[in-house]
């Protein structure tokens, strides 16, 4: 490894003010090999890794990236790394890997060239240059992305509130007939009493008719007996209505009145007094 002290024509020992250590400012400094230890740590923190750091060195010395002067760059890089290690800084592994790679490239470049080699070996710098270039493209892309107008910074979403009378549209749950049947099964299993309320088709239609007659009675105080029958329903319908009226009367939900013998019969909602 090179000695950092006297081998570097591109650097001048010059103390750096600690004030510049944040952000980009550090990149603008001209000659800066000597860096106070704290600053050095922060300096490396400002780079996004060894590629970024190499790009910085290249730009700083105005090297042409495609004519990468590997020896000089390597030297620079090594000096920083060595210094960091001397100061016992914990270096990210990537920086050491890059150091090894640079050292390898350098040694390959320094090997005597085989004049007779049939095919030119690939330039050992090529891969590194490719990586540097690729990285630089995306480093720039990140900067460009950052300058795109964006929400929360360059514009804000325009919003209005909903009017006070707004009511959400509620989608009510679906129920299937099977759900009702299952619910009933559960009740049957549970409630012994319910066994007496055995349900049959005839009984159900009677009970529905009871509801219908009660509904009619909500609209009319008195309902003529005949109004409870729909002739179109035929004999079965008449029977159902008749059973419903009897059941309603039995349950004391209605009263039946007949003013005169053979006179019209009327249905009336039962009141407490009559019941």
């Amino acid at each position: 490894m090179d000695e950092p002290s006297d081998l570097t024509p591109l650097t001048v020992q010059q103390p750096l003010p600690l004030a510049f250590i944040r952000g980009e400012a550090v990149l603008e400094r001209p000659e800066d090999l000597y860096i106070p230890p704290d600053a050095l740590e922060v300096l490396l923190d400002t780079f996004e890794g060894p590629l970024d750091f190499l790009l910085y060195l290249i730009r700083k010395h105005k090297f042409d990236i495609v004519q990468l002067p590997v020896l000089e760059i390597t030297q620079q890089y090594m000096e920083y790394i060595d210094l960091m290690q001397e100061l016992n800084f914990e270096l990210a592994a990537e920086y050491l890997v890059m150091a090894a790679m640079l050292a390898e490239i350098k040694s390959r470049l320094l090997l005597p060239k085989h004049q007779h080699s049939e095919e030119d070996e690939q330039d050992p710098r090529a891969e590194l240059i490719r990586r540097l270039q690729e990285y630089e493209v995306f480093k720039q892309a990140a900067t460009d992305l950052d300058t795109l107008p964006r929400q929360e910074r360059d514009y804000f979403a325009g919003q209005a509130r909903l009017a006070d009378n707004f009511q959400p549209l509620v989608i009510l749950p679906d129920v299937a007939v099977e759900d009702l049947l299952l619910a009933l099964k559960d009740i049957m299993k549970r409630a012994k009493d319910f066994q007496h309320h055995h349900i049959q088709r005839e009984q159900m239609s009677t009970r529905e008719r009871m509801s219908r007659i009660l509904t009619l009675l909500q609209q009319h105080d008195y309902l003529p007996f005949e109004a409870c029958f729909e002739l179109a329903e035929g004999r079965d319908g008449v029977v159902v209505s008749f059973l419903a009226i009897l059941e309603l009367s039995k349950e004391k939900l209605i009263t039946l009145t007949q003013v005169a013998l053979f006179g019209p019969i009327h249905l009336k909602v039962a009141t407490g007094a009559e019941a």
Partner: protein
């Protein structure tokens, strides 16, 4: 420091502030935030707000002044349609709701007390309200016993929802007979149940 801005830009600025702020903005808040640099009189800001209110009179959103300040609000008559942007799915009905509905369907007209007797647990007002709000059950009369409890029955809407023309089209208790419930009122035995 007072900066110069055109009338149009002032209007745009106030309007944009009212649209982008998360809370309604009072006149003072406007003066102290977005309009800070322009040293506008209260009267001037009022004129701007009046202009904006007028500009939006016929539009989909309108300027409103509430206790906490100015904000834009959708026209009330659009609410019905806007609701479609936020459909809310309500949770499935509980066992208790379904059992109550089943009893009303099969045993109507029936009082809440009778439902409670059969289910063996009390039936909350909430359950009855759920079923009435849905339009599936209604009170068709009152039973003439102390307290005159309401008699519940199913509605035409209930039949429509389940695709029935008459209540008799509900599945009959065949299903229960298969469970082994006989007229004698025997409890189903375990074996029969497992065969069902």
């Amino acid at each position: 420091m007072k900066r110069v801005i055109s009338e149009l830009q002032l209007l745009q600025l106030v309007e944009a502030a009212l649209f982008t702020a998360e809370q309604p903005l009072s006149l003072e808040q406007l003066q102290n935030s977005v309009l800070e640099d322009f040293a506008l009189s209260k009267k001037k800001v009022q004129r701007i707000l009046a202009q904006i209110e007028q500009d939006y009179a016929g539009r989909g959103v309108q300027l409103q002044l509430t206790a906490s300040g100015y904000h834009f609000q959708s026209r009330p008559e659009l609410s019905e349609f806007l609701a479609k942007l936020w459909p809310e799915r309500s949770p499935r009905y509980s066992r208790a709701v379904l059992e109550t509905l089943a009893l009303i369907a099969y045993r109507q007209p029936i009082t809440r007390g009778e439902i409670e007797d059969i289910r063996g647990v009390s039936v909350s007002s909430q359950i009855m309200r759920t079923l009435q709000d849905r339009g599936w059950v209604k009170v068709v009369g009152h039973k003439e016993v102390p307290g005159r409890p309401g008699l519940y029955a199913t509605t035409a809407q209930f039949l429509d929802y389940f695709g029935l023309q008459r209540l008799e089209q509900l599945p009959e208790l065949m299903a229960f007979q298969q469970l082994g419930i006989t007229d004698a009122g025997e409890l189903p035995s375990g074996r029969q149940e497992s065969n069902a």
